[in-house]
Structure formats: structure tokens, C-alpha cells
């Protein structure tokens, strides 16, 4: 019996992710707990929840407890298009959960690749995202979409910019009935409308989908975008957990190319989310490209099955007749045997132990 069995549920996952990202040369990025509020005020739509804990420091500056990590990394990373910064982080962020008014401290792990983002970077990040899901354990799926394809297709269909967020929302819901009506209202011809309507419900292997997309989107989506999509995902076709899925959508104001979400069986929402956020970079006055993702350890922890039915291996129960030295010596002996030990003079309420060892007058009885 190893005492490691009793560690916090997501600790082994965090250790696994740390090893994974370090193995690909990503540098650990540690940041300040506080950030200037202005950073979030100007990019509220980028945040998962738009409530931020703010306070004024001694100089009168309005600061915030970080609700997000990516914005801080982008702000603090020098703008470069020569070479790439590869960083990973594990940080606490402070957010209001959906349907709640209370703030929660959430442990978030993720990585960012900022600078000259080429096909190698994108493929590497997608692979790392998939391997992050595998580190969580169980069956998993990494659903990958490309906002450039959707956006260029909507250009070809003559869909005004103002209508696109709503249409992307319907694509994200697989809501074909309302998407069909909206395209009809916008005067999109049946053939082109059917093409957009087919994207949220693609079926088949990666190779089959890529072949049919290249044929169907020829002339509607630029060659560059299609070949980028085909070359990255074609190269990952051997990974059966990577699935082309256009229902993964993100805000067009921030994201541009690949976007993806990761799911693990038994957890009802995505445990990983990421994408290429070149538009956020431009918004923040940077020329560099960027891609990254975050893993939601809090969500994983909520649905993780308990690995043990016990709080410790041994309850070492003593009374006043045993000396402190004798009790501690017995506890040390049990720990040396590889057991976890809880010493107590009365049975702790609400806890369970694999076995109980009782000491009287300095001896185990």
C-alpha cells in the first residue's frame, strides 16, 4: 500500500501534464496573482465569465485577481515573429460559475505558443492537447474545427458580418432547423445553404471528411486555408481520438484558425479548450501569431471517481495511558510499512479507515 493513493484527486494529472509539456520543451511560466483591471475591461468577451474581483492598491491603481491567464501571457510576452515562445502554466484563476453569483478559485493548467506559429506548432499543440486528455484517463475525443474555413465560407455565401456570431451559435448547437431558416432569410441559395448545413454533422474518417471537404469547398474557401487544414489534420489522421467537428466554435473577434475542445467520457462538458487567437494578438497590438489551450482541472476533479473508500489506511487509537513517544513511534513504524496513519484519541466522525489499531499503556492491543 502506497500513501500516494491518498493524494488530492487531480495531483497525479497535474504532475502528468507538467511532465508532458516539459518533455516538448515548454517553459514553466509563473505570473503575478494580480493584473491591471484595464486588461480585462477591454477584452470582456474573451473571458469565460465577465465578473472580475477588483481592488485598489496603495497607489490608487485598479487591480484584479486574474480571471484568465492567456491575456496576461499575451500582454507580458514580447512581440516577435522570429521564433516562438513556448510556455506552460498552472495558475489559480477567479471566476463566477455559470448560474451562480459567487466567485470560485479554479486551478487552470495550459500552454501557449506565441510568435511564428507554423504547421509544426499547430500540429504539436494539437498532439499535446490530445495527450493531455489521455493523461486525464478514460476514453477521450479532441474535436477540431477551423474558424477560417467557416468565415471564408460565409464570405462566399455573402453573409454579413453582423449575422455571423448568431449563425456560428446555431452551428455550435447543431441547430440545423434554425440555421436553415436563417440562411433562407438571408437569401442564401439552396445548394450553398446545404453545404453550410452539412458541416455540423459530418460523418466518416478524417481522410474521408478531408477529401469531401476539399471537393465541396473548392472555390469557396481559399486554397491556403484548405491546405493548412488538410495538411495538419491529414498528418494526425492516425490519431482516432482527433475528430473534425465544426460544432466547435469560438468568438470571431479573438480566434481565427484552428479551434478545438477536448472531452473525456463521463465528464459532461469540455475539459480542454483552445485555439489560434491571432485576432486577440492584433487587438492587443501584436504582430505575432498564437495558439494555446487550457485544461480545466476543477471540472475533472468534480467528476473524478474516488480511488479509495478510506481516508487513511490505519486509525491509530490511543488513550492517556500511552505516552506520546510510544504513540508516535508506532505511527512512524506503520508509515515506514507504507501505510497512511491517522492518530486520534477518539474515533474521528465521518472518516473511514481500512483498519483500526488500538494502543493501551504504550502497547498495541
Amino acid at each position: 500500500m502506497k500513501t500516494a493513493e491518498f493524494t488530492d484527486g487531480t495531483d497525479p494529472i497535474l504532475n502528468g501534464l507538467r511532465t508532458l509539456y516539459a518533455s516538448r520543451g515548454y517553459t514553466h511560466y509563473k505570473m503575478n496573482k494580480f493584473e491591471e483591471y484595464d486588461l480585462y475591461a477591454g477584452n470582456k468577451d474573451f473571458l469565460i465569465s465577465d465578473s472580475v474581483i477588483t481592488f485598489t492598491d496603495g497607489t490608487g491603481k485598479l487591480l484584479a485577481l486574474k480571471p484568465d491567464v492567456t491575456l496576461s501571457i499575451v500582454k507580458n510576452t514580447p512581440d516577435t515573429v522570429n521564433g516562438t515562445k513556448k510556455l506552460w502554466y498552472n495558475e489559480n484563476v477567479y471566476r463566477v460559475a455559470k448560474g451562480s453569483r459567487s466567485f470560485r478559485e479554479i486551478m487552470q493548467v495550459g500552454l501557449e505558443c506565441i510568435g511564428s506559429v507554423d504547421g509544426v506548432c499547430v500540429r504539436e499543440v494539437l498532439s499535446l492537447a490530445l495527450n493531455s486528455l489521455k493523461t486525464v484517463g478514460g476514453a477521450c475525443v479532441l474535436s477540431v474545427s477551423h474558424l477560417g474555413i467557416l468565415n471564408e465560407l460565409m464570405d462566399s455565401l455573402g453573409i454579413p458580418d453582423a449575422e455571423r456570431p448568431a449563425l456560428l451559435g446555431l452551428i455550435g448547437e447543431k441547430n440545423l432547423h434554425e440555421l436553415g431558416s436563417a440562411l433562407d432569410r438571408l437569401g442564401v441559395g439552396k445548394e450553398k445553404a446545404d453545404l453550410l448545413l452539412s458541416l455540423p454533422v459530418l460523418r466518416g474518417s478524417t481522410e474521408e471528411i478531408l477529401a469531401s471537404l476539399n471537393e465541396a469547398l473548392h472555390g469557396l474557401v481559399s486554397k491556403g486555408t484548405l491546405s493548412e487544414f488538410t495538411s495538419v489534420l491529414g498528418g494526425l489522421a492516425g490519431e482516432k481520438e482527433i475528430v473534425i467537428d465544426f460544432t466547435v466554435v469560438s468568438d470571431l473577434h479573438y480566434y481565427s484558425g484552428f479551434v478545438f475542445k477536448g472531452y473525456v467520457e463521463g465528464i459532461p462538458a469540455s475539459v480542454l479548450s483552445g485555439g489560434q487567437y491571432d485576432r486577440l494578438m492584433r487587438k492587443m497590438g501584436k504582430r505575432a501569431g498564437a495558439i494555446g489551450f487550457a485544461v480545466y482541472l476543477d471540472l475533472i476533479g468534480q467528476y473524478q471517481k474516488s480511488t479509495t473508500a478510506f481516508d487513511a489506511d490505519v486509525l491509530l487509537l490511543y488513550d492517556a495511558s500511552s505516552s506520546a513517544a510510544a504513540v508516535c513511534a508506532e505511527a512512524d513504524r506503520l508509515v515506514a510499512d507504507g501505510k497512511s496513519v491517522r492518530t486520534a484519541s477518539v474515533v474521528p466522525e465521518g472518516l473511514s479507515f481500512r483498519e483500526t489499531v488500538t494502543m493501551r499503556e504504550g502497547k498495541v492491543i
Partner: protein, 209 residues
């Protein structure tokens, strides 16, 4: 096995009938009992009755793989789920109603009584009209009569309740019907089963039309 959350009540019975005709029957469901969960292993389904406004929560949080919820609930609570099919049943509309002699005084905020605060806010935001939301949990129709609000935003099915209270519909906010929804994660691991069910249900909806 697909877990299906059905809304308790008349709409739930109607949509269960559609599921049964689509090849997913579970006759025990209609027996008068206090049981809440019903299973037909052969058909690969487990049904459970829940409060209509809770269906989306069960599906979003993965306790149910799929469920049936009104569009009103989906618009109000915005759950992160797939909306796979308009079942074209439970048809009604979200409407703005007021007393017959109502005149919109645009010099002040419009007082709007509703159970659907988000829908009402979104609707008036799109019109650029300043409003004061009065959130009520029931008997919305009484609000304009007692002078609590200028208008109400509520579901109108036949209009009888409005008529009996001397209220009339001024505008339709959005048409409402029952929708088949699915959990986004579950759909990735039970995709085949869900696709088959959706295809069969689509046939039943078409037959009805």
C-alpha cells in the same frame, strides 16, 4: 443505453408518444405509479420525468444524454447543449401583452413583468427600449391589471387567459415549440445511438406535418 429526460405533464406525454412510435417504447412510463425512472433495456432507453424547466439542466450536466425542452427554457437559461430537432409540438409563442388601452410612454422606462427576464431583456435591448424588469414567478397576467407593470412578456398558447383578463397581445417575441436537446460530451461517446434516435424522431415529425 440512452438516458432521456422528459418534461412532466401533457407535453411530456405527447413527446413520449413520439419516442414510442420512433421505436423507443417503454409502456411502464404511462402507468400510474410514483416511479420516476423507467427502463426498456431492449430498446436501449431509460426515461425519467423531471420538472420541464429542469430538463435542460439534467442534459447540460450529463445526467441525461438527451431530453425535450421548450424553446422558451432554452432561450431563458442558454444551456450549453446541442439542439438537434424541432419536434413541432407544444407550439405556442412568447408575446408582449398589455391592457387594451395601453400606450407606450417612451419618456420613461417601460415596466415589464415576466418569468422570462433574459428573453425580455434581450428583446427590448434589440429594440433599444429602456425597461424596468419585474421578475414574477406566476400569475403574470395580473401585473398590468393592478398597475404593477405596463406590459407582460409571457407564453401565449390560445390567448384565452389574456382575453379573460382584458389583455391583448401587442407583439410576438419568438415562436416556441418543444426541442430535442443533447449533452455535448455524451454526443461524442454515444453519437451513433443519438444519431439513430434523431433520424427516427425526424421521420415522426415529418409524418405529423
Amino acid at each position: 443505453m440512452l438516458n432521456i429526460a422528459l418534461p412532466k405533464g401533457r407535453l411530456g406525454e405527447k413527446v413520449y408518444d413520439m419516442f414510442a412510435r420512433a421505436g423507443y417504447p417503454c409502456p411502464a412510463l404511462l402507468e400510474n405509479s410514483r416511479k420516476l425512472i423507467f427502463e426498456n433495456e431492449e430498446a436501449g432507453v431509460r426515461y425519467f420525468w423531471v420538472k420541464p424547466s429542469d430538463v435542460a439542466i439534467y442534459v447540460e450536466r450529463g445526467a441525461a444524454d438527451i431530453g425535450v425542452a421548450g424553446k422558451d427554457i432554452l432561450l431563458e437559461y442558454r444551456p450549453d447543449v446541442y439542439e438537434l430537432l424541432d419536434l413541432k409540438t407544444g407550439i405556442c409563442r412568447m408575446a408582449v401583452a398589455a391592457k387594451k388601452d395601453f400606450r407606450d410612454d417612451t419618456t420613461r422606462a417601460l415596466r415589464v413583468a415576466t418569468k422570462f427576464s433574459n428573453i425580455a431583456e434581450h428583446y427590448y435591448l434589440s429594440k433599444g427600449r429602456d425597461i424596468d424588469i419585474i421578475h414574477l414567478n406566476g400569475s403574470i397576467e395580473i401585473a398590468p391589471i393592478l398597475g404593477l407593470s405596463d406590459v407582460i412578456v409571457d407564453i401565449v398558447e390560445t390567448g384565452t387567459t389574456l382575453k379573460e383578463n382584458d389583455l391583448i397581445v401587442y407583439d410576438t417575441v419568438v415562436p416556441i415549440s418543444a426541442r430535442l436537446i443533447a449533452n455535448k460530451s455524451g454526443s461524442r461517446f454515444k453519437g451513433g445511438e443519438i444519431d439513430r434516435l434523431v433520424a427516427e424522431m425526424a421521420k415522426i415529425v415529418e409524418e405529423k406535418e
